[in-house]
């Protein structure tokens, strides 16, 4: 090497595109080499992904810790299930209705809730979940109470002569994959936009953001509603996949699960949430070999998350991405 050489070695090839293509191929071809159980686990991960994206917008980007996702998840699940059972409507209608209704319900709930400070807000959102379950249990005329809704039909797409029903885990997997990709894309576009930058501004310093002219109140409310809508959409898929919806859907466990996915994957990053979703469900299923220890491990990983991985896996993902992209 001549003394004038500034580079130490030849520049690395940009492997990011290759990686992306490989990932896409793996996702599309997964059913060929994964069994039904593994596919099922991925479907569950993707069902939780949408509410997690919503929560990410709230926690990661706007800085509002919320435990209410389970409430909107439940509302979405019941909406979708009831429509399918009573009206036999095609899936995309149920799906959209679930999202819209959840988002709509978030409006009257969010207005008083968002005035509260951090800790009170958390308690308030918890209250939504508890009240949601109480309503599901006691409004028997609508929800059949504890008897629950069962026999929710498989997703049906009424496209005239091209109508089809999704049956079987593989078809369901593809459907959920498409929805998950679209949802992730939507979340990505939101955070990349000017609105997304404003949200980060609110998270970092709300007073400062307000002083620069960002209507923080409106932003928080809209993000709360969008987040609820995402949760509702996830609930809709859940209802059609499990075919059973009961007041048990409104449980704090789902809220904490989504929180772990977001905070574990890396709040404030899109790829983190996707990774977190898959990792969490994967870990959950892997620990099935020791059920008693499973919940203890879950608790310990929460503690590990809080103290050792406060940014979740995001830093690791970033490093990996950089590694692929350019010279070290």
């Amino acid at each position: 090497m001549s003394p004038n050489d500034l580079s130490l070695s030849a520049p690395r090839r940009d492997l990011r595109l290759l990686f992306g293509v490989a990932l896409a191929a793996a996702a599309c071809l997964a059913p060929l080499f994964l069994g039904t159980y593994a596919l099922h686990a991925i479907i569950i991960a993707l069902i939780f992904l949408l509410p997690a994206h919503g929560l990410n917008l709230l926690v990661g980007y706007t800085g509002l810790l919320s435990l209410a996702q389970a409430a909107f998840f439940g509302i979405g699940a019941y909406t979708s299930g009831l429509m399918a059972v009573h009206f036999g409507t095609p899936f995309y209608l149920n799906f959209l209705a679930a999202g819209l209704l959840a988002g709509a319900v978030a409006l009257p709930l969010g207005i008083p809730a968002l005035r509260l400070r951090a800790t009170s807000f958390v308690m308030c959102t918890l209250g939504f979940v508890v009240i949601g379950q109480a309503i599901a249990k006691n409004w028997i005329g609508l929800t059949r109470g504890d008897m629950g809704l069962s026999g929710i039909p498989k997703p049906y797409f009424a496209l005239g002569p091209a109508s089809f029903t999704i049956s079987g885990t593989t078809s369901f997997y593809y459907m959920v994959l498409v929805i998950a990709v679209i949802g992730t894309l939507a979340a990505y576009l939101i955070v990349r936009s000017a609105a997304g930058r404003n949200m980060v501004a609110i998270r970092e310093n709300e007073t400062l953001a307000e002083s620069v002219g960002i209507p923080t109140w409106r932003y928080k409310l809209v993000v709360f509603m969008i987040s609820a809508a995402f949760a509702g959409l996830g609930g809709s898929i859940y209802a059609h996949y499990l075919t059973v919806v009961s007041p048990l859907t409104f449980q704090m466990y789902y809220s904490t699960t989504m929180l772990i996915i977001v905070l574990g994957g890396g709040a404030g990053t899109i790829s983190g949430v996707v990774f977190g979703s898959l990792l969490f469900v994967g870990l959950s299923e892997a620990l099935r070999v020791a059920p008693e220890v499973r919940m203890i491990a879950y608790g310990l990983s929460l503690l590990a998350l809080v103290f050792w991985f406060p940014k979740g896996f995001a830093p690791l993902i970033d490093r990996f991405w950089l590694f692929l992209g350019e010279r070290k």
Binding site: L116, S120, A134, K137, M295, I296, F307
Partner: protein, 290 residues
């Protein structure tokens, strides 16, 4: 008619006393750590299990079992406090929420792992009914009410006059200044936490004779019940918590009687939501302070 309502109010005071002892611990912990202790109910459970264990395996009399239950919980609280709770001081709210949720899971499931998931019977305690002003109550319940009053009087005295109490008040007001004045904040945090956990355990041991069933998952319900109480009372407000607990107890009693038992829990969270909407700092504080 009047005596029926009076009886329900007495019932409300009885359950309110239980809530009060548990809630005051949680609210004090919040005051110092600024964290909602989602694992608080687990200390209630641990106290109960400790006492149950002492009676079941060592055949010890009930008063001794009370002490053992509380001491066992204190020991666990020291460990949890040193390794987890102290680190929450000064951290953002997410930290407290997640960390205490994690602790709750670990404690709950470790107990289930060790003792099995089945429910146990708590034998021991003073369950003979006595008649007071025409209302029959188990002796244990009278004991609970008396202990509740003693606890609150004691706390009031401690917070106002003792060094520890003053330090607690200082930490809950301004942590940075505490360091300046020479208060060992982590130590105060640890001690407050242990005190809170022990109070929860005490409540557990005292109610075990009348609640009979002991099982690993019993703490979760307690945590949920206590959250509305501390919000209503004002986070960190000891006196407010007492009144909030009583009000909630009585409200629940009346709803259970005149509306239906299935709506009892809704009272708690409906009240919580209402309070948060209209008086977020609690019913009894102009501003939430110790």
């Amino acid at each position: 008619m009047l005596s029926a309502i009076l009886e329900q109010i007495v019932n409300g005071i009885v359950s309110g006393s239980v809530y009060a002892i548990v809630a005051v611990g949680m609210t004090m912990i919040f005051g110092v750590l600024r964290a909602i202790n989602f694992a608080h109910g687990e200390y209630y459970m641990l106290g109960t299990f400790g006492a149950w264990f002492a009676i079941e395996y060592f055949d010890l009399p009930y008063p001794v079992a009370i002490a053992i239950g509380v001491i066992a919980t204190a020991v666990i609280a020291v460990v949890v406090g040193k390794f987890v709770m102290q680190r929450i001081v000064g951290a953002p709210p997410e930290t407290g929420v997640l960390a205490t949720l994690g602790i709750a899971l670990v404690l709950q499931n470790t107990v289930i792992l060790v003792f099995g998931g089945g429910y146990k019977f708590f034998s021991g305690g003073y369950i003979e009914p006595v008649s007071i002003f025409g209302f029959t109550l188990a002796e244990q319940r009278v004991l609970i009410i008396i202990v509740c009053i003693l606890v609150f009087v004691g706390l009031e005295l401690m917070v106002t006059y003792s060094r520890m109490g003053k330090a607690m008040r200082a930490v809950s007001q301004n942590i940075e200044c505490c360091a300046v004045v020479g208060i060992d904040v982590p130590q105060v945090a640890l001690r407050t936490f242990i005190l809170g956990a022990c109070l929860a355990a005490l409540s557990g041991v005292l109610t075990a004779p009348v609640n009979v069933s002991v099982y690993g998952g019993m703490g979760e319900i307690i945590t949920f019940k206590t959250l509305p109480v501390i919000i209503m009372g004002g986070l960190g407000n000891v006196r407010g918590t007492f009144f909030a607990a009583m009000i909630l107890g009585i409200a629940e009693s009346l709803v259970a009687t005149y509306v239906g038992l299935q709506f009892r829990d809704t009272v708690g969270f409906a009240t919580l939501l209402l309070v948060l909407m209209w008086r977020p700092h609690g019913l009894f504080s102009a501003q939430a302070r110790f």
